[in-house]
């Protein structure tokens, strides 16, 4: 039930932004559609609604966003350097790293963050054993432990505090 209410509020919020400035017709249709969608698919949206009441998670999310943007800008400068250099300095390969995250949302955010940070892109996830396969544009270390330290640790500790 809580999951349905959350989906309703979020869906209505996005609708309100899409039809800005709001008038009465749009608001009524938005409420109807948000209600219909949330009553059909609402149970799939969040598995543990109790996480939303924990205030500390929002603070950690506020810390995660600027860090993510900064890493993203660094990644872009890195790619710009590699493709504009005359020799194209790359040494690509697919490495394997470990992760402790278990929840769906946490793993999705970790994989997305890894994809948008310098030189790495997530190829596949092995959920049972907690492994991620990462395509690395300049392989610094083939070893699992060291690669984990270099790639995953920046985000894993923060994401664990937000989503686990």
């Amino acid at each position: 039930m809580k999951s349905k209410i959350l989906l309703f509020v979020l869906g209505f919020f996005v609708w309100a932004l899409l039809v800005w400035p709001p008038d009465i017709q749009h608001i009524i249709i938005g409420i109807l559609i948000a209600f219909l969608v949330s009553s059909i698919t609402g149970d799939l949206f969040v598995k543990r609604p109790s996480l939303f009441t924990d205030f500390k998670r929002y603070l950690w999310f506020g810390y995660y966003v600027p860090l993510f943007i900064w890493e993203c800008i660094k990644a872009n400068i890195d790619v710009a350097y590699r493709v504009s250099h005359p020799d194209v300095p790359i040494k690509p390969g697919i490495v394997k790293v470990k992760t402790n995250l278990k929840s769906d949302t946490g793993l999705t955010f970790l994989a997305n963050s890894i994809t948008l940070t310098p030189g790495t892109m997530c190829v596949d996830i092995d959920r049972e054993n907690g492994f991620l396969y990462i395509h690395w544009i300049y392989v610094k270390d083939k070893d699992i432990e060291k690669a984990t330290k270099l790639i995953v640790e920046t985000f894993e500790n923060i994401l664990k505090r937000i989503f686990e």
């Binding site: 800005w20 710009a80 493709v83 697919i94 994809t115 892109m121 396969y133």
Partner: protein, 109 residues
């Protein structure tokens, strides 16, 4: 003031989009090209949309630009995973000079 900042963001976004396309041409294989395309085109397009938001402020067009920015950040990496995994499973080889392929070793087991 907002117009100056917006122009700066749009120019930076266009520059990153250009580097992403350059990467598509210069890098050797699917996976490296996806790296350039995903990273640069995501941030480049977000830069352009954020510049548009600064131009228009909290109006109909500006808010739609902000929404598009959020959806692009959320969906672009997911499509990159899907493309990379699909390419690997359907048999696209890594570049000859790649140093390591742990995924292939684990899949063929």
């Amino acid at each position: 003031m907002n117009e100056v900042l917006g122009t700066v963001f749009i120019v930076i976004g266009l520059a990153f989009d250009f580097f992403g396309c350059l990467g598509l041409v210069r890098l050797p294989d699917v996976y490296n090209r996806l790296q350039a395309a995903t990273k640069c085109v995501t941030l480049g397009t977000c830069g352009i949309l954020f510049g548009l938001f600064l131009f228009r402020g909290f109006t109909a067009a500006g808010l739609k630009a902000l929404l598009c920015l959020i959806f692009i950040i959320l969906t672009a990496p997911v499509s990159a995973h899907a493309l990379a995994r699909g390419a690997y499973i359907s048999g696209v080889k890594l570049w000859d000079k790649s140093v390591v392929d742990k995924y292939g070793e684990d899949i063929s087991k």
